[in-house]
Amino acid sequence: MTSFSFLHVEYLLQAALWTVLLSLVAFVCGGSFGFVIALGRISRSPLLRRLASLYIQVVQGIPLLVVLFLTYFGLAIAGFKLSPLMAAGISFAVYCAAFLGEIWRGCIEAVPKTQWEASECLGFNRFEQLQKVILPQAFKIAIPPTVGFMVQIVKNTSLASVIGFLDLSRAGQIINNSTFQPFTVFGCVALIYFCICYPLSALSKHFERKLNVSNR
């Protein structure tokens, strides 16, 4: 049995980097696809609207854990052997896209209809309306729920350990197995999670304040 040392902390920090990396992949890929989903949900074409909402309903109806199993073990049987990072990245992107898509649709629809009307009457086409009038206003509305969701995602990346992804939580478990100092180890793990999530919330507040000032 070894006791908790600086080497362990270093190991935890390395694992934390993987947690951050997976969160970034989830946000960037999931966010891009989620944006497309949100646009699909407000599209004029009934087909696109239905496809987008079908996607959201299906993904929201499946636990993230099962999505992870499906992409890692399921695709392997189908002949696509993915690395844990790859599989986790895809799973989280798929998952985030559904939730962010729905969150952002709500934000776009929260912009008053009269803004659509006023810009339409000035001659804007639909793309210009979105680009110049609707999305800039929706962006501001979207910051708090988006950051809130992202903080959830950072913490949920721990689920990826079930497919062998060595993230912060998994690293904590491994260390605890050899040191048997759960309070110290998981206290450290908790602190690192907090250090990742807190700046996100702070950044959100900063953005909100900044955007509010420019509107006043």
Binding site: S119, L122, G123, E128
Partner: protein, 244 residues
């Protein structure tokens, strides 16, 4: 004089509710036409049909040479360059400054260079007496000032026809008069205007043609003094007297 707006036997329903029931009306260039009537008489819907915001069920409607009843042939973008509209609730863009509210359409739709757009913004803001407020955000302005910016924003597109949908209904009397003053100036400069209004004194004094709408029809139409002093129908007589 040539007709800018020509409407014949216009019909429009929202589901089972018939809102416009055979409206016919012509507006000549340079005229100010004021539409009055009770709530639900179809005034606002008629106005919204004029720039294609509402689809028409049947009838002929021509605005600035565009045939509005045939949406497939209609170039809405061109129509909207020629027809400006101002709403009761101003509908300024809250996320940009007053100046940007005006230049946004100029740079986006008319593809004007920024400097030229700013010059136009300066001109129209001077016209409505708000050039000092160009860097303010809409929230920072009073209702009357916001409405004047909304008018300036429409004017910047150099429309041939301006529509005003109860633009002073949300304002107190003092702010109302500053907005009406801007509209009076516009009219004197020869702008063709159609307004839906509850400002009877304003309509009476300045409109060339007064239209009284009732049950989705043009119930009476003519010079304001005549309609106010000698209403031909009981409905108008009642409407006019209730205003006093």
């Amino acid at each position: 004089m040539s007709a800018i707006v020509s409407i014949k036997d216009l019909h429009k329903s929202f589901g089972p509710v018939k809102v416009l029931n055979g409206v016919s009306l012509d507006v000549e260039k340079g005229q100010m036409v004021a539409i009055i009537g009770r709530s639900g008489s179809g005034k606002s819907t008629l106005l919204r049909c004029l720039n294609g915001l509402e689809r028409v069920d049947s009838g002929d409607i021509k605005v600035c040479g565009h045939d509005i009843h045939h949406p497939d042939k209609l170039n809405l973008r061109e129509l909207r360059k020629q027809v400006g509209i101002v709403f009761q609730s101003y509908n300024l863009f809250p996320h940009v400054t007053v100046e940007r509210n005006i230049t946004l359409a100029l740079t986006t739709i008319k593809k004007l260079p920024s400097a030229e757009a700013k010059k136009i913004a300066h001109n129209v803001l001077t016209l409505v007496g708000l050039e000092a407020k160009k860097d303010a955000y809409p929230e920072q302005l009073s209702g009357g000032q916001q409405q004047r910016v909304a008018i300036a924003r429409s004017l910047a597109m150099a429309p041939e026809l301006m529509l005003f949908d109860e633009v002073t209904s949300a304002l107190d009397p003092e702010l109302t008069s500053e907005v009406l003053k801007v509209m009076e100036d516009l009219s004197k400069q020869g702008m063709t205007m159609v307004l839906v209004t509850h400002e009877m004194a304003f309509a009476r004094k300045l409109a060339d043609v007064l239209v009284f709408m009732h049950q989705g029809k043009v119930w009476e139409v003519g010079p304001p003094e005549e309609l106010f002093n000698h209403p031909k129908t009981a409905e108008l007589a009642k409407f006019v007297s209730s205003d006093l």
